[in-house]
């Protein structure tokens, strides 16, 4: 193309130059706008970079960091002599760190995709499905290494792996749980130190004595929402919690805050796919929870449980340290094996416990009419109100008329004059019908309330019943809109009627009476220098007290509890005070008898108070306190004497030449 200069160009150029040289206000406006916009941008940038540094940094941290919380093992529970009642045992598991397998997942995915394409299959899975297949394949490969080492054939569960991958891939994936120490040893030696497969140890609750004190010690359950202390850093981060445990029953529940370990954990940076980047940014080891020393005495508990188990019947037994109110033994049968609750309770075991009626702690939740053991309360009420004197007597003919009703006394065959002490010894109903009516229901109920019988004892155990009942006319009127009859007073006087008390309350009553006081607050926590309890005195004169004690001692020697003097239970030189009882409960099938024993020992220096109940299971069967409940007390007394060595001799001394 030929070059053709335009003649007008210089002029036009000149005009352009002219316009540049001039001060065109539109151009200035443009400059101004540009500067303003750039300035705004720069200021915005400066503000974001300098002014909001902290905020951006925090947002970056929240988006790119994750916190993994690991529970701390629970504290141990020891008996009053430092013997382990509840501890922890290690639980070995094999885990796989998925974050170390990213490239393997990818390679396997590519291989699977290639295979599908090569096979010419038209019905190709989606990419997500192939990724899922790849993950299962890789994880199964690692599980096969474990299988080879252990000679096992475990399989990967696709849905569990997928759920873990989607929801918690930052946590190690559990391949095998609760492996034996021998398997753990094999894996420890055979897996390379740097393998993504690792042997993981966690703790689980261990109850070395199985069913012993099951209701008292209680159990734990899995806790997916682990409590994390405020001092554990990273509270604002997305947190993944490993499964912990929480106390659900007994002392495990009552002292959960003390036993609960301090959670540890680590903060990891994660990549956009959610895999953690090693090593962790911060790490803190979990710390074991505090240990607890409880007041139980393993030997006494064991002796009571063994004897109660021998009856084959349901029941409860409580032994208290009279001076401090510390619980030495607290038994409830039937019971359950606490180790069945870890790692989790099976449906079959739960159903079995339900069928046997073993869930209930009969010592603190079981409500029973106290039967003849309540005669002690009637006696105290009568003595304090002046209706009974230490030398009061009654003529027992075996029948006692109250209004139009005949009340019987079949507890002893020898009829005639009965003193207070004899009435207690032989458990004479007539004496207590007569003097109970004279004393009156208000005084008897007031005496029972003074001993705290209408209130929970306040023991540390959860779910102590609040349904205990000391009936009186006001209660009858308010609750049932019915009148109170003298026959009701007669019934209450011998521990029947609407009276409902727990074995623990009766043990507390025995301890209070032994101290000549009115109430005993039981505790399961042991203090080496626990202060002696001091409550309101019971207000009995020595003579009044002597009369009751004479009767109670006679019970264990010649009376209804004389089984305690048989060679199996007898402790030479140890003076016992006791009162047996047989309470009746009407059921649809017939009347059931409940055997009671309440007492304390030694009489001259009271140390231990006991209450025992054994439930009859067959209507009409004679389950008497002296025959069923007293032996359980005898076992406790014998175990105590063997331990202290102050009375009798556990084993005969070696023959001397």
């Amino acid at each position: 193309m030929a070059y053709a200069p335009h003649s007008s160009t210089p002029d036009r150029a000149g005009s352009i130059m002219e316009s540049h040289r001039g001060y065109d206000p539109r151009l200035w406006l443009f400059y101004g706008l540009t500067v303003l916009l750039l300035g705004t941008l720069a200021a915005g940038l400066a503000y974001q970079q300098l002014g909001r540094t902290v905020e951006h940094r925090e947002r970056e941290i929240v988006q790119s960091q994750r916190r993994v919380v690991v529970p701390g093992p629970r504290g141990n529970i020891f008996d009053r002599e430092g013997r382990l009642l509840v501890g922890n045992r290690p639980r070995f598991a094999v885990t796989l760190n998925l974050d170390e397998l990213r490239s393997e997942f990818r390679k396997e995915y590519l291989r699977i995709r290639r295979n599908y394409r090569d096979s010419g299959d038209k019905d190709l899975p989606t990419a997500a499905q192939m990724e899922r297949i790849a993950r299962v394949s890789v994880v199964q490969g690692y599980l096969n290494i474990v299988n080879r080492a252990l000679g096992a054939r475990h399989r990967v569960y696709d849905d569990i792996l997928d759920r873990h991958y989607r929801q918690a891939r930052i946590l190690p994936y559990m391949l095998l749980e609760d492996i034996s120490p021998a398997d753990y040893a094999r894996l420890l030696e055979q897996l390379p130190v740097t393998s993504p497969l690792q042997v993981y140890t966690a703790s689980t609750r261990n109850y070395p004595h199985g069913t012993l004190a099951a209701h008292t010690l209680g159990y734990t359950a899995a806790d997916d929402d682990l409590a994390v202390g405020a001092d554990l850093p990273g509270a604002d981060l997305t947190t993944f919690k490993m499964r912990g445990s929480i106390g659900r029953q007994g002392l495990e529940a009552a002292l959960d805050s003390r036993l609960q370990g301090q959670a540890g954990g680590a903060i990891y940076r994660v990549d956009p796919a959610g895999y953690r980047i090693q090593p962790p940014l911060q790490k803190r080891r979990p710390v074991q929870g505090g240990d607890v020393v409880v007041s139980l005495d393993l030997d006494l508990q064991r002796a009571a449980e063994a004897q109660l188990a021998e009856t084959g019947l349901a029941g409860a037994a409580v032994a208290l340290d009279i001076a401090t109110g510390e619980v030495l033994a607290l038994v409830s049968k039937p019971d359950y094996d606490l180790n069945a609750f870890t790692p989790r309770l099976s449906h079959e075991t739960a159903a079995d416990i339900q069928t046997r009626g073993a869930w209930i702690n009969r010592a603190t939740q079981g409500l029973y009419p106290p039967g003849s053991t309540f005669k002690l309360v009637t006696a105290i009420a009568g003595l304090r109100s002046g209706h009974i004197e230490p030398d009061s007597t009654v003529e027992c003919t075996g029948a006692y008329r109250v209004g139009g009703r005949i009340f019987v006394c079949n507890n002893h065959r020898d009829r005639g004059t009965v003193t207070l002490a004899q009435a207690i010894e032989k458990s004479c109903n007539t004496f207590f019908y007569d003097y109970g009516l004279k004393t009156g229901i208000d005084a008897i109920a007031a005496e029972a309330r003074r001993h705290g019988m209408d209130d929970p004892t306040g023991i540390e155990l959860p779910f102590e019943t609040r349904g205990m009942l000391v009936p009186d006319p006001a209660w009858r009127e308010a609750r049932r809109q019915e009148r109170w009859f003298p026959g009701d007073t007669a019934n209450v006087s011998i521990g029947q009627g609407d009276l409902a008390l727990t074995p623990l309350q009766m043990a507390c009553f025995a301890a209070s009476f032994a101290r000549s006081e009115s109430t005993t607050r039981p505790t399961l926590l042991h203090l080496a220098d626990a202060p002696r309890l001091h409550t309101e005195p019971d207000g009995l004169t020595p003579a009044q007290r002597g009369a009751i004690l004479a009767g109670m001692e006679a019970v264990t020697n010649t009376g209804t509890g004389r089984i305690l003097q048989t060679p199996r239970y007898r402790v030479p030189g140890l003076r016992l005070a006791g009162k047996t009882g047989t309470a009746q409960k009407r059921t649809a099938e017939g009347t059931l008898n409940f055997a009671w024993f309440v007492g304390f020992f030694p009489i001259d220096n009271p140390q231990v108070a006991i209450a025992v109940i054994v439930e009859g299971d067959t209507p009409g069967e004679d389950v008497a306190g002296g025959r069923y409940a007293a032996p359980v007390a005898g076992a406790i007394i014998k175990a105590w004497a063997d331990k202290t060595g102050r009375y009798g001799l556990a084993t005969p001394p070696p023959a001397t030449p």
Binding site: P73, G75, A149, E189, T201, R285
Partner: protein, 284 residues
Amino acid sequence: MPRRFDQARPFLALGVALLAWLLLPALFKRFARLGIYELQAPVEVSASYVRDLQEFWSEKTRSKNELIEAARDLSRLNSAYELRLAEDGRLRAEIDRLEALLRLPSYGEFRAEPARVVRRDFTAWWQRLVIRKGGNHGLLVGSPVIYSGGLAGRISEVHATTAVVELISSPGLRLAAVFEGDDRPVSFQGGVNPPLRPAEGLLEFVPLDIFATPASPRRLVTSGLGGVYPPGLAVAEVFQLEPSTDGLFKSGRARLDPRLGRLSEVTVLVPLDGDFLPAGAPKP
């Protein structure tokens, strides 16, 4: 060419070389590694023969009196060993009888293969021995290796005429050990190799009722449970045990025998039935 680019050229070249290296097939790299190793092996083996020769000539300088004394000590030792052998035979018979009585499976049998040490290769990252026997003597990866003081380690690589032993002082070796007189397995891992001092190992998962202090150390032996090492071989002496914060176990330290740093001869226990080998190791 601008100067700045000129300075970056070596790094660029290194980057290209690295890329090429990453693209090379794994088989080629494996072959190259083996090839280069076998190429260098004669140098080290020759050096070890020279060292043996050196030792031989230095022994030759011993006087006749020294030799007579050594022979006398040797004959005493031999008679002591004869006694031990007789006792050992009796115990073996007893073990066989009990195993038959209780119907227990017997421990795997091993073939002992003594080997001279070509080179001790000790760093903070690994602790290995190269021994003068390899695939030519039927050695297998994973076979336990012992010495006069107990367990030395296990075979980690087998080459044509040499093999590499990973020592128990190496961070890469972990085993299930037991305290002498106890049967609960604990984890032992090597890896603490301070300068001018014997190596130490770390213990984990030690039961809380086991105690050890520098004044009263406890011997650690192989458990036989792990499936690699026969039971009862001395591993280390535990001198420190402390409870961990989680209260489940104790962790601690164990001192390894200083002779591990001077090993010149070891014995490889080659399993005859292949049960005592890690998962995935080739079976005989």
